[in-house]
Amino acid sequence: MSNLKFKIIEGTRSAAHSIFAHGFRSFLTTLGIIIGVASVIAVVSVVQGFSANITQQFDGMGTNVINIESYTPREERLQGVRAKLSYDDYLEIKYRVPGISNVTPTVTMWGSNALITYRGQSSSSMIVGTASTYQKLNTVYPERGRFFNLSDDNSRRRVAVLGPSIISKLDIKGDPIGQHVGVSGEWFKVIGIAEKRGKLFGFDQDDFILLPFSTTKALLGGAQEPDITISLQINEPSQLEQVKQHIKNLLRRNHRLSKDAADDFEIATADQMLDTFDAIVGSTTLVLGGIVGISLLVGGIGIMNIMLVSVTERTREIGIQKALGATRFDILLQFLIEAIFLCLLGGLIGLILGFGAGSLISNLTGLPSATVPAWAIILSFGFSAGIGLIFGIIPAAKAANLDPIDALRYE
C-alpha cells in the first residue's frame, strides 16, 4: 500500500512536471473544464446567494404563520369580477377561529394613488396599512424610534413607520422622527424608521411606509371597501390543518360560495411558499447541472484527444521509461494522474473564475452576494476528477500497453 502511495506521489510529481513544461497547451487542453466549471459555479453562486436571501426572509416570517389572500381565477377577472377579503372576514376569523393569535389585517396600495409628499418632494412608494401585530409576524424592527402600538391603531392616530429608502427619496434632512409626511393629503407623524433590508432583483425592499390599519381604512373612505390580506399565527403548529380547514369553511360561508364553486381566496403558509421556492431552485439547479454535464463531457473529450496526441508524441519517452524498469502499471498511473491533475487544475481555475464572475454579476445587478455552497465545490472537483479518470483511461492504457522495443524505435 505504501508502495502505491509512493507511486502516486511520484506520478503526481511527474504529471506536474509535464503539465507545467507545456503550460499553454495544458491550459488549452483544460479550457473546456475551466469554462464548464466556471459557468456552473457562477450560476450556482448567484442562485444560491439569492436562495439564501429568500430563505432568510421566510425564516423572518416565522414558520407557523398563515397568509390569506383573495384569489380571482383568470376567467372571472376578465369578466370584471374581483374577489375580495373584507374587514368583516378579518373580524370573523379573529373572533371565531380558535387556536390563533396576532391576526393582522393588511391593506397595500401601490402606484400613482400611493403618493407620499414632504416639502415639495414626492415619492411613489408602497403604502402598507396594518395593525401593530404586523411587527410580530413580519419581523420588521425599527432601527430608530418605535413601531406603532395597539393604541395608535385603536385611536386612528396619524403616525407612520418609514422604510429607510423613503428618507433619501423625499430628501428628508435632519432627524426624520417627529417630522410629518403627507399621504393622500393627510399628514402623518414619523415615529420610526425600519431596518434596512436591501434590494432583491432590483426591487427595493426598503421603499415603503407603514400606517395603522384603522387610519388607512379611514383614509380610503367608505367609497370602496379595500381588499385586504390577513396574516395570523397558529399557537400549536400541529393544529395547522384544522385551523386552515376552519378558516376555509368560515370564509366560504361568509362569501356565500355554492358547494361546487372554487375558493375565492388562498391560504398559504410560509413553509408552503418555501417549499415552492425550493422546488423552483431545485429544478433550476438540475437543468443547470445537465448543461454543465454536457460541457464537462465536451471538455473531457478535449482532454482525451490531447492526451492521445501526447501519448503518441511521448512514445519514445515511454519506451525509455520501460527500458529503465517502469512497469505497465507505472505508466498507466502516470498518464492517469496527469489527466486527473489536469482536470482538477481546470476545476480549480474554473472555481475561482466562476466565483469571480458570480460576485461580479450579483454586484452589477444588485442581487444578494454570491455564495458557493460546499457541495458545489466538492461536486465540481469530484466531477473534474471523474472526467479525468474516465477520459484519461484510454490514453493511459494505450501508453501502458506500448511495446518497449517498438516505443524505443519510434521516431
Binding site: 511520484e10 512536471h17 513544461a21 520501460k322 527500458a323 529503465l324 524498469g325 517502469a326 512497469t327 505497465r328
Partner: protein, 244 residues
C-alpha cells in the same frame, strides 16, 4: 581462476512473423557471460545483434530456449517481473542516448531509481555520485539540449550505472559520436571494466570491438565465433588465461 556466470543462454531462438512468413532472427544461440566480462557483439546489419541485445536486456521474450540471468529463468517471468529485472540488473546505453528531453541531467539519472521506490533525497544523492563518476558534476542542471553528444552519452552511462546493474548493455554507444568523443567514451568503458563492471557492447565498428576483451560474431541469426581478443585483453589484465 573461477568465473562467476551471470548469464546463461541455452539454445535460444527468436522467430518473427513478417506477414504470413516466419523469420528466424536468432537460432540456436548458446552463450555464457561471466562476471567482469567485456564483450563486443559484432555482425552486419540483419545478423541478429539487436534481437540478441533486446533479449539480453529483457525487453523481449525468446521464442524458444532458456535464458538464466543470475540463476533466474527470465523467459518464464511476466511483464511486471521483467520490468523489475530491467530496473535492477540491466543498464542500457543507446546509440541515440535516449535521455528524457525535458528532464535535467540529474533528473534523467534519478529516473530509474523511481521505479525502485527510492525516496527523492536518496535518489538525488545516488544520482549525484553517478554523475561525478562520469565527471559531469557541473552539468547536473542542464537539459539534454544544452549538452554535447559526448556529455549526453555520459549522462546515459551515469543513468545506467546508478542502479548498480549486473550488466551494462551498450547498443552502438559511439554511433552518433565523433572520433575524439568515441575515444573518451571507450576510455570510460575501460575504466568501468577495470572497476569490475560487466559490459556488453553491440557495435559494427572494428575499432570498438578491438578494445573489448571478448568478441562474439553473429551472422544470419547464428553465433559464428566467440573468441578472446588477445591484444586488448593483454593490455589491461591477465584474464586471458581464463579463456584459453
Amino acid at each position: 581462476m573461477s568465473k562467476q556466470t551471470i548469464i546463461e543462454l541455452r539454445n535460444i531462438a527468436k522467430h518473427y512473423m513478417m506477414g504470413s512468413e516466419g523469420f528466424y532472427a536468432l537460432e540456436g544461440i548458446d552463450l555464457d557471460i561471466y562476471l567482469n566480462d567485456y564483450i563486443a557483439i559484432v555482425g552486419s546489419s540483419g545478423s541478429g545483434k539487436s534481437t540478441l541485445m533486446n533479449l539480453l536486456g529483457c525487453l523481449d521474450y525468446p521464442t524458444a530456449g532458456e535464458y538464466k540471468l543470475k540463476g533466474t529463468d527470465v523467459a518464464t517471468l511476466n511483464e511486471t517481473a521483467l520490468a523489475g529485472i530491467r530496473n535492477r540488473e540491466i543498464g542500457f546505453i543507446f546509440q541515440n542516448f535516449n535521455l528524457l528531453p525535458r528532464a535535467t541531467a540529474l533528473q534523467n539519472v534519478m529516473q530509474p531509481l523511481i521505479y525502485r521506490g527510492i525516496a527523492v533525497a536518496e535518489r538525488r544523492r545516488r544520482a549525484q555520485n553517478a554523475l561525478e563518476m562520469v565527471s559531469l558534476q557541473d552539468r547536473m542542471a542542464h537539459v539534454p539540449n544544452q549538452l554535447s553528444g559526448g556529455q549526453r552519452q555520459r549522462v546515459a552511462i551515469a543513468r545506467a550505472l546508478v542502479t548498480e546493474p549486473a550488466i551494462l548493455l551498450a547498443d552502438e554507444p559511439t554511433g552518433n559520436l565523433d572520433s575524439s568523443t568515441t575515444t573518451e567514451i571507450m576510455a570510460l568503458f575501460d575504466k568501468l571494466h577495470g572497476d569490475g563492471q560487466t559490459l556488453i557492447v553491440v557495435t559494427h565498428e572494428h575499432e570498438i570491438a578491438e578494445r573489448c576483451h571478448r568478441v562474439i560474431t553473429l551472422k544470419d541469426g547464428h553465433l559464428m565465433s566467440d573468441h578472446i581478443n588477445q591484444v586488448s585483453a593483454k593490455l589491461s589484465s591477465s584474464e586471458v588465461v581464463a579463456y584459453v
